[in-house]
């Protein structure tokens, strides 16, 4: 709900999408995400006048911290990570609404005390009871916090009166069973319209631009199907190894950490039909159709479609990377994958027969996330041997160096008819010098505005876990086979190249 309708001076202003006065309560506020992303994003929103003047943030954690200490700490982190650096005067304005509340996640008394505190803040600051609870703790605490919030009268389930919305961080479950359990638990305490399952990739400007590119331009969409597209490649590569997150990563693996959520969302946006509107229901209906249309892997032919790998010693960008097994927190003999490549088919009219290749890895040659559509050859080779053998490619780079490039064949200047592939590149950075907003800015703002379009819905999460869990089950069955390794700083194990070679395809060189 915006306030434009009620205030005649708001109508037509640039900031007419202003949330109603509200409080954001962050659970796990002593954590990394709060410092690096959540509070800096809120501060930037305020600096850009996108928050109501009567807005407050309450940090909740077990750690005993005073309001003042929390404010001081957040000022330092905003100085480091916010797009708008705090100025004394603006920070003073912001910090008046910043509080810290110490409590236990599973102790009802803590929630009762939190309620008293929030009611008092509402009164002092003129906030009509609207609240966003951002659960930014490790996942084991998600269900505990949701239950306690409800049982202690902090959730208004009615569509009338002040709003209560709950943002739940990733990961939403670790397999299909746990995701369903968490979902059922949340729905016991909240309505679906109150649950905001975050996938910060959806808050990235360039991911949203995928939709703009496809649906605001008439010339690409006619090519966006199996008549013209030979294959689609989606890459989410990270140059870093696991960097001290061994304890977490060794339990998760790259398939859970990157693919089930981020890359599947990118794939769904790439493959979906044009939605009727950009509202949350229409957009998510189309995405879920893609996920439901993923063809299950045929019995006994799993290895033709899935390759995993684990990095061994190597170097990335001139920096040595140890063997995965030597990283802190990794269990001896671990078969957790740090690389995965999938070949998938979307069984629908538009994409029948077009393989979607998806790869993601740690300690790869460089950091890059992109989607590439590789086109079929021209139907007739008019220029014979001298034609370029390289297919046309349209690639959308999500990070870094966000942009779009098109590869096509062009005549080499001269009196002979030689054709060479050339790249036409459009880069956001060189065209629009302004910095795009951070994903967490857009997402927190959308939640305050009650817009769920860029959050994932229960059925999307379910459909993606159904597909991913089958892979995990197969890996568990074939445990004895071991896991191929790849040298850190390369593009993954040879088996991955071989998977594409069988279809006469090859990974793009990035």
């Amino acid at each position: 709900m915006t306030t434009a309708a009620a205030n005649p001076l708001r109508q037509g202003l640039a900031e007419d999408r202003l949330p109603e006065p509200c409080t954001v309560v962050i659970f796990g506020a002593s954590g990394d995400l709060t410092k690096r992303k959540l509070v800096p994003a809120l501060y930037t929103l305020m600096a850009e006048r996108l928050l109501p003047a009567t807005f407050s943030v309450v940090g909740f954690a077990r750690k005993a911290v005073t309001d003042d200490a929390f404010r001081q700490e957040m000022k330092e982190w905003c100085g480091k990570f916010a797009r708008h650096k705090p100025t004394d005067e603006l920070w003073n304005q912001f910090q008046k609404g910043v509080y810290f509340h110490t409590g236990d996640y599973d102790n009802p008394e803590s929630y009762k005390a939190l309620k008293v505190r929030l009611d008092q803040i509402d009164k002092e600051r003129g906030i009509p009871g609207n609240r966003v609870f951002y659960i930014s703790t490790p996942p084991a605490t998600f269900p505990i916090a949701v239950k306690q919030l409800d049982e202690n009268g902090l959730i208004n389930k009615s569509t009338e009166g002040p709003f209560t919305r709950v943002i739940i961080e990733k990961p939403f479950g670790t397999d299909v069973a746990s995701a369903r359990e968490l979902n059922a638990h949340c729905l016991k305490h909240l309505r679906e319209e109150q649950i905001y399952r975050i996938d910060h990739y959806l808050g990235k400007e360039t991911v949203q631009n995928l939709m703009v590119f496809r649906f605001a331009n008439a010339m690409f969409e006619p090519l966006w199907n199996n008549r013209f597209v030979e294959q689609v490649q989606i890459t989410g590569a990270e140059a870093l190894g696991i960097e001290g997150r061994g304890g977490y990563f060794d339990h998760a693996g790259i398939l859970r950490d990157m693919v089930q959520n981020h890359l599947f969302q990118v794939m769904a946006l790439t493959a979906m039909e044009p939605p009727a509107s950009l509202n949350a229901t229409d957009l998510r209906d189309e995405k879920v159709k893609v996920l439901k249309a993923l063809r299950p892997y045929p019995e006994g032919r799993f290895d033709e479609f899935v390759v995993r790998g684990q990095y061994r010693t190597g170097a990335v960008g001139g920096r040595r990377i140890p063997n995965y097994h030597e990283e802190a927190g990794v269990t001896a003999g671990s078969t957790t994958e740090t690389y995965v490549a999938l070949k998938m088919f979307i069984d629908n009219w538009r994409w029948a027969g077009v393989p979607f290749y998806l790869r993601s890895g740690k300690a790869m040659a460089k950091k890059v996330t992109e989607v590439a559509l590789i086109f079929k050859d021209a139907p007739h080779r008019l220029f014979g041997e001298k034609s370029s053998t390289e297919p046309n490619v349209l690639s959308i780079r999500i990070q870094p160096d966000e942009g779009i490039s098109v590869r096509f064949g062009s005549k080499v200047p001269g009196n002979t008819l030689d054709i060479n592939p050339v790249n036409m590149e459009f880069r956001y950075g060189t065209s629009f010098g302004t910095e795009p907003p951070e994903a967490y800015e857009r997402l927190q703002l959308d939640c305050m505005l009650g817009d769920q379009a860029l959050y994932t819905r229960a059925d999307e999460v379910d459909a993606s876990w159904r597909f991913i869990s089958r892979i995990h089950e197969e890996w568990a069955r074939s445990f004895a086979k071991g896991i191929p390794s790849y040298e850190a700083g390369t593009w993954g194990p040879d088996e991955s190249d071989a998977m594409l070679r069988r279809a006469n395809h090859a990974w793009r060189r990035l």
Binding site: R10, P21, A53, E89, Q93, G126, G429, T430, G433
Partner: protein, 376 residues
């Protein structure tokens, strides 16, 4: 950085400062060779930089400069614009009374800067055109030939806004936006500008002064968001604004906006009191009387000159703001007095806004139209 070209002219605005090796030199060329020279500049830039150079253009920006001083300022602003909007900038300066020198002269340069975060090279093309005496008649044809095709064109009238439509019309054929700054309107009068704007059919009139005061409008609006609510606005009985001489147009635009949003009607202009300024009687939408005074003050930290604005309601409440520093205002509202940030962006940011979605602000045309009622 240095560019290709037959002859290299000294860079505009003095020698190239050290440490900014990427800013462009101006190259003098004959008029017909401008495009060719621009192509050569891009080739040289690409060769000199190891980074890939991408040429992008979202707007043709024609800058009409009234004199050398305006030209120097406009060039600096246009150069700063490159960080946010890729443009082909065409700076036009006429010397109507010149008795010597060529009728028409042109220079080209590419302006490149390393973008935020480093590494990326942002470049725009700049063409300078100077005409003398009757040479000004040739300028429109040159502009038509030089604009990048399929990209919208904005004409920025740097200096006082045009006061007769025919002077503008020859320059604006094919122009999508006319950008002016009503702050520089002679005598602070908006009527001529509104008249010119009304005659230029199909073209969006963008006023930098309107964009300059956007923060104040949003600040005023925010005072009536829940839980305060808009009801106080309808109980307003008296309003007082303090402005500098230069701030009169901003004040009138602000009032034009309020008149249109709150559905007021201007009843009469009252005879001037002892204070320099002006007063009006208005009627609110429930037909109650409402008084407005504008008082002229000698100085204000705000660039727009709109120094303070306060109103009182019939139940004894007071709302408004007073500028304290350049970026800070003291706000009086339902929650007592507070200090808030409400900066006015520098000119290059105003231009970015003018070329963006905010340039097409429907509220402006209505506010300008209603502000004229105060000048009758």
């Amino acid at each position: 950085m240095a560019t290709a070209g037959t002859s290299i002219k000294a860079p505009m605005g003095g020698p190239q400062p050290e440490g900014t090796p990427l800013a462009g030199y101006a190259v003098s060329v004959d008029v017909g060779g401008i495009e060719k020279e621009l192509a050569a500049l891009w080739r040289t830039q690409s060769k000199e930089k190891s980074a890939a150079l991408t040429r992008a253009c979202a707007w043709n920006l024609v800058v009409y400069c009234s004199d050398d001083g305006a030209m120097t300022k406009a060039k600096l602003t246009a150069d700063a614009l490159v960080h946010a909007v890729p443009t082909r900038t065409i700076l036009v300066l006429n010397h109507p009374y010149a008795t010597s020198g060529p009728e028409l002269e042109a220079w080209v340069s590419a302006n490149c800067h390393v973008g935020a975060g480093g590494g990326k090279l942002l470049c725009t093309e700049e063409i300078h055109i100077e005409s003398r005496a009757k040479g000004s008649e040739l300028v429109p044809s040159l502009l038509r030939a030089l604009v990048v095709p399929d990209v919208p064109t904005a004409l920025w009238w740097a200096g006082p806004p045009p006061d007769n439509a025919s002077a503008v019309r020859v320059l604006v054929s094919g122009v999508d936006r006319l950008i002016v700054d009503s702050m520089q309107a002679p005598g602070g009068s908006l009527s001529k500008l509104a008249h010119v704007g009304g005659l230029l059919d199909g073209l969006v009139l963008v006023d930098l002064n309107w964009l300059r005061t956007a923060t104040l409008r949003s600040l005023l609006a925010s005072m009536f968001d829940p839980p305060v609510g808009a009801e106080a606005l309808f109980k307003m009985r008296h309003m007082r604004l303090e402005v500098t001489e230069a701030g009169l147009p901003a004040a009138k635009l602000m009032l034009g906006w309020l008149i249109s949003r709150l559905k007021w009607t201007v009843s009469e202009r009252l005879p001037s009191s002892s204070v320099a300024g002006a007063s009006w009687r208005l009627r609110s939408r429930d037909d109650t009387g409402l008084g407005i005074d504008i008082a002229i003050v000698t100085g204000s930290p705000r660039a727009s000159g709109l120094h303070s604005m306060h109103f009182d309601t019939d139940d004894g409440r007071r709302f408004g703001f007073t500028s304290r520093e350049r970026e800070v205002v003291d706000v009086v509202g339902a929650r007592g007095t507070r200090e808030l940030s409400a900066g006015e962006p520098p000119i290059e940011q105003l231009l970015v806004a003018a070329l963006g979605a905010r340039g097409r602000d429907r509220l402006y045309a209505v506010a300008l139209h209603r502000a004229m009622e105060l000048e009758r």
